[in-house]
Amino acid sequence: CPENEMIRVIRSARTQGEERGVIQRECAAIRAQFRQADSGGRSHNLAKLLYVHMLGYPAHFGQMECVRMIASPRYSEKRIGYLGAMMLLDEKQDASLLITNSIKNDLSHSSQYIQSLALCTLACMGSAEMCRDLAPEIERLLKASNSYIKKKAALCAVHIVRKIPELGELFTPSAHSLLSDKNHGVLHGAVVLITELCERNPGNLDEFRKAVPELVQIMKGLVTSGYSPEHNVAGISDPFLQVRVLRLLRILGRNNDEASDAMNDLLAQVATNTDSSKTAGSAVLYETVLTIMDIKSESGLRVLAVNILGRFLLNNDRNIRYISMTSLQKIVQTDHTAVQRHRGTIVDCLKDQDASVKRRALELSLALVSAANIRSMMKELLRFLSTCPPELRSHATSGIFNAAERYAPSQRWHIDTILHVLITAGGDVRDETVPNLIQLISVASELHCYTVHKLYRALISDISQQSLVQVACWCIGEYGDLLLKGDCDEIEPMQVTEDDVLDVLETILQSHMSSPTSRGFALTAIMKLSTRITNNIDRIRSVVSIYGSCIDVELQQRAVEYNALFKKYDHMRYLIMSSHTIILGIPMSKSTGFKLHSVVEGWSPQDILSVIMYKHTYTQSNFVVICVVPTILHSRYG
């Protein structure tokens, strides 16, 4: 036939340009044909145009032809005309209104196949106006027609309700009575319609809850019936219908004890007797589980459902494992203990090849972390981190940090975990977590020496991971004195000179891999070290002065300020760049537990405040200010 010839020609084009040329010629011919009233090849012409449209070329000039074809008395022309309408027209185009009349006429055509075309098209692209216009027709067809038409009318009604929920009222009476039909297509359509009516208007729930016994009967019939060749799929009788009935039962049983009670036995029966060796059976079981978990079911039934999900986790079929985890994720908060029983299998899924399965397993694993299992779970999560696909890494690091913070069994463990993540996946740790990590490290005071040594050693081998760089720089700046002292309890000693430290910080400052934030951290660390080292102050002074003319404005500003600290405000430098406490206005005392740094007498309140603000802004140190000067209040900065 003619369109096949055209398709052949198009397919033999060797380049995109050649194809375009062919299409242009063909479209010109089609357009010319449209203009003639030739009745012989009209269907073929439109078919050609639809093919061209599918290749992605414009075809709007065919819209009116669709309208004309739909109005034709010939079935072949109507058939392609309606198809064209569904492909080329949508409710946004004015032309779609023009077919409303044809649809109306065809809905009462003597041939059910023509009625079918109209119903299909209305359900596919009927606008709100068309729906409003034709709703009474559809309602009539729901009641007084054969099964072939009834089932289509039901789905058409579904579309109408989606477009104009208020029209649902029109279909509510008929919907319920459709449930007594024996035809599976009609039943399926009825169930879908009732589902839509209930979802659009919760006021319908009470009415349709009366249908629960009928729905239960329908399911029972399907589950216990013998082999029915017409509806059998892999040993399950009409799984499509079963799934929709189960879904409707879920909506009806939700928040309603009576309805939930009425379906309890059935759900147990389906859950126990459905063979899940093939997808069809698993689909039914899956829907059953969703229903059990969403209605007011007995606890025994809930456990049964979770166990089904647990079994799914062990299924060879990856799709089923994935589905299982999606469902477990939904119930992990409400049924935490039940899901915990399957933790081992879930953790195993972290090793699955498929990234979607891995993602699900990660979510679930994080949700299952508790004080009781934190140590073993963290081992698994850190192991996962080392082979984790790139797109999951930053989520994994955030999840690990959260879990660590919530359930850390000891400070040492917590710090070790933070260090491990920074060192192995520091490039994927989100920037926003850095201040929090710094906070956690600064609070673990006995571990400062250990922490700074570990971070320093990680830094000298790799300065590319920005979050690691930032945290490490902050620690080096803050605890540089501990680093330079060389020895530390838990690590083999390593000689670190002032030059070594300044070398690595300067390397970071100069490296093109370093982000602006990281460079800021490095510069500040260098500056802080000016109060912790003895021999290299001049080196620091010169670094700081060089960066006073740096292109990066943030860095430049910082350097300029630091320069000023060296020059005009040297007396303030120690205060600002050192850590911990500033105690102002009282003489040194041995009885306080704080590290006392200096006494500043005769400073104006403005001076003191600017030191405090400066320190807070630039050094991110934790410090406490205690002022005895009466005009300034106690304040605590962190």
Partner: protein, 158 residues
Amino acid sequence: MMRFMLLFSRQGKLRLQKWYTATAERDKKKMVRELMQVVLARKPKMCSFLEWRDLKIVYKRYASLYFCCAVEEQDNELITLEVIHRFVELLDKYFGSVCELDIIFNFEKAYFILDEFLMGGEIQDTSKKGVLKAIEQADLLQEEDESPRSVLEEMGLA
């Protein structure tokens, strides 16, 4: 409900697209391009489900064609796989061992079959036999309609 179904080849050629919600032409093109890229990048052993925008995508490859459906949050992915499989069975029965070329050269037939099986993104008839019978009858009607008519028939006298 199913929002749309796409059939495309490994080379990214679209063979069928059925949309069950009103979508602007340019948005359709964009979504198709994006989704084809995502699906074609999947490796063979990966799972048939993925999340894309606010939808769930269920896809399966049959020979050289990818069958790809977008469904909503509350839809059952496993039964959607069965829906895809049923559609393939229908095509197979109709064309007799269907292959991509059948879908290319008889694309309207593929649409007619789909439109007899699904409507508004939902299943019309859960019986394979039922759908095939209806298509057969409709085809007969089309044949009668297209066969040459005698003058008497044209005048409605025979």
